[in-house]
Amino acid sequence: MPIFALKMLFGDSARFYGMLLGLAFSTLLISQQASIFVGLMSRTFGFVTDTPQPDLWIVDPAQRFLDDNKPLRSTAVQRVRSIEGIEWAVPLFKGLLVVNLPDGKRQMSQVVGIDDASLIAGPPFMLEGSLTDLRKPDAIIVDEKATRREFKMNNPPEGGEPRSLRVGDTLELNDRRAEVVGICKATQTFQSQPVIYTTYSRATEYAPMERRMVTMVLAGVAPGVDEVQLIKTIAERTGLSAFNGEDFADKTVGYWMRETGIPINFGTAIVLGFFVGVAVAGQMFYNFVLDNLKYFGAMKAMGASRKTLLGMVFLQALTIAILGFGLGIGMTSAFGLTVPGERLAFRMTWHIPLIAAASVTVICTASAALGMWRVLRLDPADVFKG
């Protein structure tokens, strides 16, 4: 009977495609929205993921998330270094500065100043030039996306067609000369300003003079030292808060989740996707079973066991669930692959197909269970009733 069950399903083509599209669309909505949500959320701590070297990120206790800069006194680095169990500690500058382009355009940019000596916290991938080129005078490294977009040279100094910014070009940061020595690839930030890397000392020269210049201290923990204890010690001795990378990322995501409407927006879309599935596919499947009830009834009279009949409904539900889910996840993946990452945050972690699969399972199980219940309750004597 399995083949007959499938023929009944595929044979009712209008309804079959309706259910298929309903489930696929539901899967698409759920997984696509969830992927964009995860993508957006992981942009909020992209810099942390891009920077694997430090064991500890040490910030002002009032800082709520990664970009919530509460600069520290420059003595903070020394004080952290002096704590036993700290292997190394370097300053990091992170701030928004105005960049002047040769054609007079001005662009707010995220400037990252990394420790001059160690160059810790540099960009994750260099596309052109090398990190050590930062030691040249006025050197900066620019993110590749920005070279094509915000920093596009509309009137190149040598004349000719507009082109991307490239190594050797010069910009002005707060009216000071800066020369592009490398092109890197950095994770897109949440606010999506261009990212510029330079050394800590040069960044502080570019930035308007302030008393507090150290955005945060990055530190390495000596081998064998208890991290939890060390974090406590740092708090006692310096009054600063220290986090490992994972906790710092969590803290940042937690802030965005709590303090913004983003989770509600995406949550609504995801719940909507679920109900589209229930309303369209679940409902259609139940109607499909109802329409076939007289045939199930006739088969029951003829001597089909409950097991056979329930098996048929189950197989029909399972088939439509797998096909609908597969099509939906396929559409989501195609979407993720075609839409450029710099335009849209899209990140399908392994949880997301599982969540979508669970939703499809719930929808199909519920409607199949209702259908099966109707089949079980069928009175075979009813087949003789008109």
Binding site: F4, M8, Y295, G303, A304, A381
Partner: protein, 242 residues
């Protein structure tokens, strides 16, 4: 009614009662119905609407529980069996022809006719081959790949007859098999039922109040108000018509 020869008894029912309880009211559908059908016999169960024909045939076919009386069908009381055993018994013993045909439109007619064999565990291919033979017998040669919806009502009922016979059940029950068909078609369908049903070792019970087909049966059992009212043999029927 006497058993004039040594033919096997297919159905023996005595004093069968059926009461439907719907809400506060009890509807007595059968109040002591007696019936004996021999193998090789084709009988028609006739009577006015509501007299209990469908209830009686459903009880005989093991679809409905009775509330009193005795019943043996092919030597077994279906009500004495467990639900699962009764389902399996129906599959082996009873063939069904319904008023509304109940053919699955998305299966070919051969597949429809093969269902009882597949339910009995035969593989689909062999079952369809066997079903095709039966379709040939009921006059549908070469149509086995058609969908039921491509056939006329009479042809669909022929498929249903093939389906009812495909696993050679001992008893075939038909409830109003001709009432969805026009007169001439109904007559031909009933002729087919009488022809394929009247076989040694098999009994056919047809519920019908279509008196144009009565002459095709061996006996007409007239029911009234939940009881057997009178029994006509075809011979007496012919005499009456002459």
């Amino acid at each position: 009614m006497t058993l004039g020869n040594n033919q096997e008894i297919a159905v023996h029912a005595s004093g069968v009662e059926k009461v439907y309880i719907s809400g506060d009211t009890n509807v007595v559908a059968l109040r002591g119905a007696d019936l004996e059908v021999r193998c090789g016999e084709v009988v028609i169960l006739a009577g006015p609407s509501g007299c209990g024909k469908t209830s009686f045939i459903s009880i005989i076919a093991g679809l409905l529980a009775r509330d009193g009386g005795k019943l043996e069908v092919m030597g077994e009381d279906p009500q004495a069996l467990s639900t699962e055993a009764r389902t399996a018994w129906r599959l082996r013993t009873v063939g069904f022809v319904f008023q509304q045909f109940n053919l699955i439109p998305t299966l070919s007619i051969a597949e429809n006719a093969a269902i009882p064999l597949i339910l009995q565990g035969m593989d689909r291919r062999s079952a369809c081959v066997k079903a095709k033979e039966l379709l040939d017998q009921v006059g549908l040669n070469g149509r086995d790949r058609s969908s039921p919806i491509q056939l006329s009502g009479g042809q669909q009922q022929r498929v249903a007859i093939a389906r009812a016979m495909v696993n050679s059940p001992k008893i075939i029950v038909c409830d109003e098999p001709t009432s969805a068909l026009d007169g001439a078609t109904g007559l031909r369908v009933m002729e087919l039922i009488a022809q394929v049903g009247r076989m040694p070792g098999r009994a056919v019970i047809v519920v019908s109040h279509d008196d144009r087909i009565y002459h095709l049966a061996d006996r007409i059992i007239h029911m009234d108000d939940g009881r057997i009212d009178r029994i006509e043999t075809t011979a007496s029927l012919r005499n009456a018509h002459v």
